[in-house]
């Protein structure tokens, strides 16, 4: 899922404080799971804005709403649409995709982002999320038995490790970041496939990544 983190309150407040009718709109999918922009976070942030506005004499009327997914038009039902149109600004707690999708669907409404979108990651334990995929467009996990050197090696090395791998940790952040190449090595060993590491890996084909500009995927068979 997409992992995001709420922006500092000050930055959020600066961006919405001139609004008179503000809708704080949460997203019920990725950002709910990573606790950055679901219904609960909407509630807390809306109350923070109310309190801050009360203190500096602002006249923001804050409403709250959360939909299942901000990146899918079908979830913008009548109720949500009405609330969005009634507002002069929407503070979206969806990821960057959600923010832009609202802009596309409701061209007259001002939309502000409430989170910093970070990466594609997994929940390690409640409260800790970590990067696992960089959306490179051509997955090579097969070659590395399921550990991604693109997303998890700080240098995205295809033929690692580098000299900075020490005690299983990466030199870029030895306290917190495991060396992806140590993980790849351990995994190959476990599966009795260490010989696979003798193969030379050609440079990654980056033409499927963002080098060709924004990407899209289409499926003729499901198009209406």
């Amino acid at each position: 899922m997409i992992i995001a983190e709420q922006k500092p309150f000050k930055e959020i407040y600066e961006s919405v404080k001139d609004s008179e009718k503000l809708l704080v709109l949460g997203c019920g999918t990725c950002v709910t799971v990573c606790m950055a922009g679901g219904e609960k976070e909407v509630g807390v942030l809306a109350n923070q804005i109310r309190l801050a506005a009360g203190k500096d004499g602002g006249k923001i009327e804050v409403t709250e709403h959360t939909i299942t997914r901000q990146c899918d038009e079908e979830f913008f039902d009548e109720g949500a649409s009405e609330k969005i149109k009634e507002a002069d600004s929407v503070l979206s707690l969806g990821c960057g995709v959600g923010v832009q999708h609202i802009v596309q669907l409701y061209p007259d409404v001002v939309v502000r982002p409430g989170v910093n979108t970070q990466f594609y990651g997994a929940t390690l334990q409640q409260g800790i999320w970590t990067e696992r995929c960089a959306g490179c467009g051509e997955c090579v996990l097969e070659r590395f038995e399921g550990i991604c050197p693109i997303a998890r090696c700080s240098k995205s090395l295809m033929n690692g490790p580098c000299g900075g791998s020490s005690n299983g940790m990466c030199e870029v952040d030895p306290e917190n970041t495991e060396c992806a190449w140590q993980l790849i090595y351990d995994r190959m060993k476990r599966l009795n496939k260490l010989d696979k590491l003798m193969d030379y890996q050609p440079p990654k084909d980056w033409s499927h990544d963002r080098d060709g500009g924004p990407r899209s995927v289409s499926r003729e068979d499901v198009l209406f």
């Binding site: 500092p8 109350n47 309190l51 009360g54 500096d56």
Partner: protein
């Protein structure tokens, strides 16, 4: 609520665990221990029921101070409810500080069921703390200018 001097009396919400602080508050009453009438008690099944927005909502609805009172460390009937509450209180302190409310206006206490006098004392202390903070805010040099 106004005092005789015309100052507004602080409104304090106390979220109390049914098994300890709430019983202690009851006991304080039975023992005729005085504690300020400013305190409005909300009974919870355990302080583990506390969530961050519950605390913020109290401030939005006009509370001047919010206290959370749970079982003593290690004696929560649901094992970890009071530890979790403590973390949430600390997080909520950050959240109110971000909007310009002194985090001292929110506090977590641990009060056993038999400690009626302790409840009364903490209630008095907290009320005094809030009263003082309110007075400081009302001093002219500390008032926020609202000339828009």
């Amino acid at each position: 609520m106004e005092s005789e001097a015309g100052e507004r009396e602080p409104v304090i919400i106390a979220f109390c665990c049914h098994y300890c602080a709430f019983t202690a508050a009851d006991l304080a009453g039975t023992m005729r221990q005085q504690y300020p009438t400013n305190i409005r008690i909300v009974r919870l099944p355990c302080t583990g029921k506390v969530y961050v927005n519950m605390l913020l909502e109290a401030f939005v609805d006009g509370a001047d101070g919010v206290m959370v009172a749970g079982c003593e460390e290690g004696s929560c009937h649901f094992l970890e409810g009071n530890y979790r509450a403590k973390k949430r209180v600390n997080y909520a302190k950050q959240k109110i500080e971000e909007v310009g409310i002194n985090p001292e206006k929110l506090e977590m206490y641990h009060i056993g069921a038999s400690e009626g006098p302790l409840f009364a004392r903490k209630a008095r202390e907290f009320t005094e703390r809030i009263r003082k903070l309110m007075q400081e805010e009302n001093e002219p040099e500390n008032q926020i200018q609202n000339e828009k």
